[in-house]
Subunit: 208 residues, 2 copies
């Protein structure tokens, strides 16, 4: 017995979902602080107080939007590296790592406001739900594990994974600052991934 409508369908249909969608789209286009519950309610044809049946706060809605952002980022990751098929060579594994980094930076560039929300005070760390804990770190770890499998790097641990994450994340955050803006984005992220790999290779040989 397939449910053709979600069960929370009273007056509006599914206001909670509609609000999240609306706010996510708004966060993709404009600044987060310009989003107002009143305007959202107005555009959705609903009274100003209706949103408070589904969200305790404006912050709660923003939290949900941040979670959607992480979902979207994960989708981009899947599209970028396609982990279903196994990498056939070390070069291919390195290419996957670069593709992941490129997806990370591209997402930040394409959705700057959503990005800021995700890593801002209403994102990751806020709220009760673990839904916003990003899998970002795990994805990079997967890539590094693969590189280890091909002996591109010898060791993968928490510090290794975290270093890779921070380096890519920092690039995503500072891509607009000089002198980054003068070089093509693709070149920038490729160089960054290469330097990360070199750091990990060097860490291997010095630890051994």
């Amino acid at each position: 017995m397939a449910r053709v409508k979600p069960k929370n369908a009273h007056h509006h249909g599914d206001l909670k979902e509609a609000l999240i969608r609306y706010a996510t789209e708004a966060a993709r286009q404009g600044a987060v602080e310009d989003l107002s519950l009143r305007k959202a309610s107005r555009d959705l044809g609903v009274s100003p107080g209706a949103a408070y049946r589904h969200f305790k706060d404006k912050a709660a809605l923003l939290h949900a939007v941040a979670a959607r952002g992480f979902d979207a980022l994960a989708d981009d990751f899947e599209a970028a590296v396609a982990f279903d098929s196994e990498a056939a060579s070390a070069a291919e594994a390195e290419a996957r790592f670069a593709a992941l980094g490129a997806a990370y930076v591209s997402f930040a560039a394409a959705n700057p406001n959503l990005w800021r929300l995700m890593f801002g005070p209403h994102g990751m760390t806020a709220g009760p739900g673990p839904a916003t804990r990003p899998s970002t770190y795990a994805w990079l770890g997967k890539c590094l594990d693969e590189l280890k499998g091909f002996r591109v790097i010898a060791n993968v641990n928490d510090r290794t994974r975290f270093f890779a994450w921070t380096a890519i994340h920092g690039l995503a955050d500072l891509r607009h600052a000089p002198p980054a803006c003068e070089v093509q984005e693709r070149m920038l992220v490729l160089g960054q991934c290469e330097l990360v790999l070199q750091a990990l290779r060097a860490a291997d040989s010095s630890a051994q």
Copy 2:
């Protein structure tokens, strides 16, 4: 003839400076979005509209606050590395690099809201004035140049400097995320700086 009072001293004394000070202090303590021009004016004993004689916008004030943030960061840098005296050895130069990274991360940890403002939409990139263009990048470059002098690394260029910056910046931004939160901050930043140096060393030898 030393001026005992600044020349912009009419009713209040120097409202512009007082506003920046007040807002900077507020940004250090609470979230930036909780700062209101009205409350600031109230606490400064001035009417709500007075601030608009000195700032076109609330955004303009926030821009000025972000600039103060960069000033404060630069002060921390100076206190951390004291470039007046020359480094006597490669080890000392490396220690300076680590001290700079630690100062960077510590500043972000001590002033999370001001930090977000500085690198947010009202910071670096916003506004007309070049006052907020950070010298952060230049500071790291100075350290790297010093390391080059001691042949810890052979080459320093824009890409080198930018990589170092992004890696430290990413750490500062993600220091609260797992698994970073489980390790002591000092250890974290030292390890990060070491990995950055290893990347640069490796880049040297592979380029040569």
